[in-house]
């Protein structure tokens, strides 16, 4: 029993964090939101070069040959930077699911951009930048879209009208795409939560009221500590879900659901607490906090909300 990441895994994640700290600052994210692209093309190329996009693609198909354990810290780092665009959909599902198809090469090197259309949702995120849309059983490359105005500028939403489709499987490591995305979103939400807490802690250190930094008041301390508590206790379940998915554990669906339920609730709590710590500033467009808050409000519901996933856990542990 060894519940830790290898040094290689940690170093790769640190490398990604380093890249994102330069090429995916809040200024970059805001630029992607405001230019309507909802996507950062330069960053995308770098993620392809670094092997992030092809992390889960077998080496034989030109990928990094990683497992979901290798990927889970990367999902988390992507969330910490609130990376806009379909990076999770592309990396966690499309690239590995289509690794044996004609699109494999373009997906690995990032010249193609893929997103997902999950059955339970009438809308498709990121369809404006994608040239490939993967459904549970087909690939759509010829389509038109209508903007339905998602709340998160880095995850714009569309209705899609497919002109033609090609049969394909969206399974990854034997798991349905929606479950792989639930796991990836859980890890991404943990990163999102960590970033909100860091930003709010920094604000609480600087902002003074009553002649003291507001972070010195117990009310602020306790809001922040409670937010951190939920995030910290969502981590191990998320990493365990990645292990279960990588090893074909019989409890993989239960474990993914546990991760997504806990991470969704942790992210929502973090969004509320950190906004409250910011006060009026947190309610403005110009505060960076919104870049993560809106991400948390979008992803906490995408790929199954906490209630959906908690009930799936319940079906396993109460009736099993």
């Amino acid at each position: 029993m060894k519940f830790s990441f290898t040094q290689d895994q940690r170093l790769f994640a640190e490398g990604l964090r380093d890249l994102l700290s330069k090429q995916c600052t809040p200024t970059h994210v805001r630029e992607a939101w405001e230019n309507q692209a909802g996507h950062l093309p330069d960053l995308w190329s770098r993620l392809a070069e670094m092997g992030v996009l092809s992390m889960l693609v077998p080496e034989s198909q030109g990928g990094m040959g990683g497992t979901l354990i290798d990927a889970v810290l990367l999902f988390q780092e992507l969330g910490r930077a609130a990376v806009p665009g379909p990076v999770l959909e592309h990396m966690a599902v499309a690239a590995p699911a289509l690794a044996h198809t004609q699109w494999a090469h373009a997906l690995n090197d990032g010249t193609a951009i893929a997103t997902l259309w999950v059955d339970a949702n009438p809308y498709v995120a990121h369809a404006q930048v994608a040239n490939i849309i993967l459904t549970h059983d087909s690939v759509i490359t010829d389509f038109s879209i209508d903007d339905v105005h998602g709340i998160d500028g880095g995850r714009q939403l569309f209705t899609v009208h497919a002109q033609s489709t090609t049969k394909a499987s969206s399974e990854v490591f034997g798991l349905p795409a929606s479950d792989v995305m639930a796991l990836a979103s859980a890890a991404y939400l943990i990163g999102v939560s960590e970033a909100m807490i860091e930003v709010a802690a920094e604000y609480a250190r600087q902002r003074e009221q009553f002649g003291k930094p507001i972070g010195s008041f117990q009310a602020v301390k306790h809001l922040m500590s409670d937010a951190l508590l939920k995030v910290e206790f969502a981590k191990a379940p998320t990493y365990r879900a990645a292990w279960s998915a990588s090893t074909g554990s019989s409890t993989v669906l239960r474990d993914i659901s546990m991760a997504k339920a806990l991470a969704s609730e942790a992210a929502y709590r973090a969004s509320r607490s950190t906004m409250q710590v910011h006060g009026g500033i947190g309610y403005t467009w110009e505060a960076d906090l919104q870049l993560w808050m809106k991400k948390s409000w979008a992803l906490m519901r995408a790929y199954g909300d906490a209630t959906y996933h908690r009930r799936r856990v319940g079906a396993s542990v109460l009736h099993g």
């Binding site: 709340i151 998160d152 509320r272 006060g279 009026g280 309610y283 519901r301 909300d305």
Partner: protein
Amino acid sequence: MDLNETAQESAFRSEARTWLEANVPTSALPSFDTAEGFALHRAWEKKLYDGGWSAVSWPVEYGGRDADYIMWLIFEEEYYRSGAPGRVNQNGIFLLGPTIMEVGTQAQKTKFLPSMASSEIVWAQAWSEPNAGSDMASIRSKATRDGDEWVLNGQKIWASRAVWADWCFGIFRTDPTAERHRGLTFILCPLDLPGITVRPIAQLDGDTGFAEIFFDDVRVPVANTLGEENKGWAVAMATAGFERGVSLRSPARFTEAVKRLIHLWKTYGDPSDTALSDAVTDAWMQAEGYRLHTYQTVTGMLEGRTIGAEASLNKIFWSEMDVRIHEIALQILGPEAERMEGPSQRWVDGFLFSLSGPIYAGTNEIQRNIIADRVLQLPKGI
């Protein structure tokens, strides 16, 4: 105790309902945070005024109906029930108006109240400053006496409606040697004077509901002082009391929201899901509890009791209830809740707006301190 309406109250309700049904615009007006929407809302306020409904609790001489608090609550119920537009001049009619009636001179009442009731003048509030948020006593904007004029300098922030409004009210430091709550004066100021710059602030939803106001040697007559010079804090606290208490968030707002929530649940909710029906029922109980609590409070006021620090209990209650109502709605909406338009639009807008509730008019953390210190008599902390 008699929780039935009197004949007079029922007649009043009926009259209000009849007028509103005949006059409320049939389709929603654009946001009053746009030029077009602001003008349309001002026109609606004028229509309300002409019907005698813009400020029902005010004296007849200033455009009201002398309605008591109970009747005011009844009017609010009918107003929300009718789906009528938001009140673009609420900072004036519900906050500044009662304050002027309490501490203003006769000249001020005559000058400001009728034009407020008719919304000829729409008012913005200008309380906070960049470094005076929760700590409102650390105001730095100042007013310097120069003959019969105040010369205003400084910066206000979170000024609701300031982008399009005509006048604003706020407190300024008039005694530079005094500290914190002392030496402040409550001043009324037109927003079109030389030296004033209004910079809109974009909110979470991209709209510009509030603004910064910069004062650069702005001159207003000393006659624009409300209440005593250097006693502005007490005047502001009276205003804030109205805001936290019964005036700004009348129960009807929430009972109507919960009616819509129940409709949403009936339309999209799984009726066998007891966790969900418990949540919706709880929202109903909260709104109903707030309504009952308010009726009890205003009966007490009619019987001569005053509302003190208990107003802070209200502020926490309605602001947290508002967030909760919207959380439940978004949960029911599922994937639709990720959209800023479509069937979920009103709920998502309302959710974002609700998040400001625990912050503005004094954060809920500050309210909890006030309750602990003044109601529970715990020793001062800060």
